[in-house]
Symmetry: C2
Subunit: 159 residues, 2 copies
């Protein structure tokens, strides 16, 4: 049955932003200042994948550069000109461009807003069980325990 | 390892449209004339979900009205004003609006372009195993056999 409390459709920009700015432990959470996520899939109760409308203020980043073992990711640029950083180098993106990051492939990806204007993009990621994340540039690793993301140092010590 | 043949990023509108206009049997396949899908996720080898950039000419439709048992679906309107038809009635959408259709919920959904302008939207759907589709308005039912969608009449007879 349809949950009667759920809307049929919404204006994406009108969805309230996520209240927790980042799941990362410090010192990484503070590095996500300037990033704002609206969790669009959650509005409709989607469970198999998430879709965020994400806004990056000038100078901010999408995430630590990372790759997933199980989760595919996809981005579509709506506004602005972010720089996509991958193991292949840097690629300037613009509205109407998209990129995908297949689970288990690639050394890591990250968007950086080096422009003076806001960047807005859609990001999609599935919720495959047993996912882990690798961060090539930072002393952090992550795994999803079924409920939430957990983090530790690369030597196994907790944050 | 990254497949070296895959691009880092692409302009979505520059991806070649799918050559097969519809998977439906007749008489339904012909009803999808005016619909064009660019399979963006496939460009990057994504396997857990698909993302299409879909264009509806005036008078055309996204699909037969349907719902899925396993697959979540999500749409985000980029251009134009499609009408979303669900069991709750009709909702006029516009750019920046989105909707989601949770697996196993809802009596069926469909976009119809009743305007005189082109509609362009992103559609996301996951590839959960064992998915089936229900069509409330038409004598057709569908199941995914792991490789492709298969169709039959509601009395079980083949198309």
């Amino acid at each position: 049955m349809t949950d009667e409390k759920r809307p049929v459709a919404v204006l994406a920009a009108g969805v309230a932003p996520r209240t927790k700015p980042s799941n990362y432990p410090e010192p990484f959470a503070s590095q996500m200042a300037g990033r704002e996520k609206r969790q669009l899939g959650d509005v409709f109760g989607l469970g198999n994948f998430g879709v965020n409308l994400t806004r990056l203020a000038p100078g901010s980043v999408s995430a630590l550069r990372h790759s997933h073992t199980r989760q595919d990711e996809f981005i579509y640029i709506l506004e602005g000109t972010p720089t996509l950083i991958t193991e292949a180098g840097e690629t300037l993106l613009s509205p109407g461009m998209c990129a995908g990051f297949k689970a288990g492939e690639g050394g890591g990806h990250q968007l950086v807003n080096r422009s003076n204007a806001v960047v807005v993009y859609l990001e999609v990621g599935d919720r495959s069980a047993g996912d882990t994340a690798f961060y090539p540039d930072d002393d952090i690793e992550a795994w999803h325990d079924g409920d939430s993301w957990r983090f530790r140092h690369k030597n196994g010590e907790p944050y």
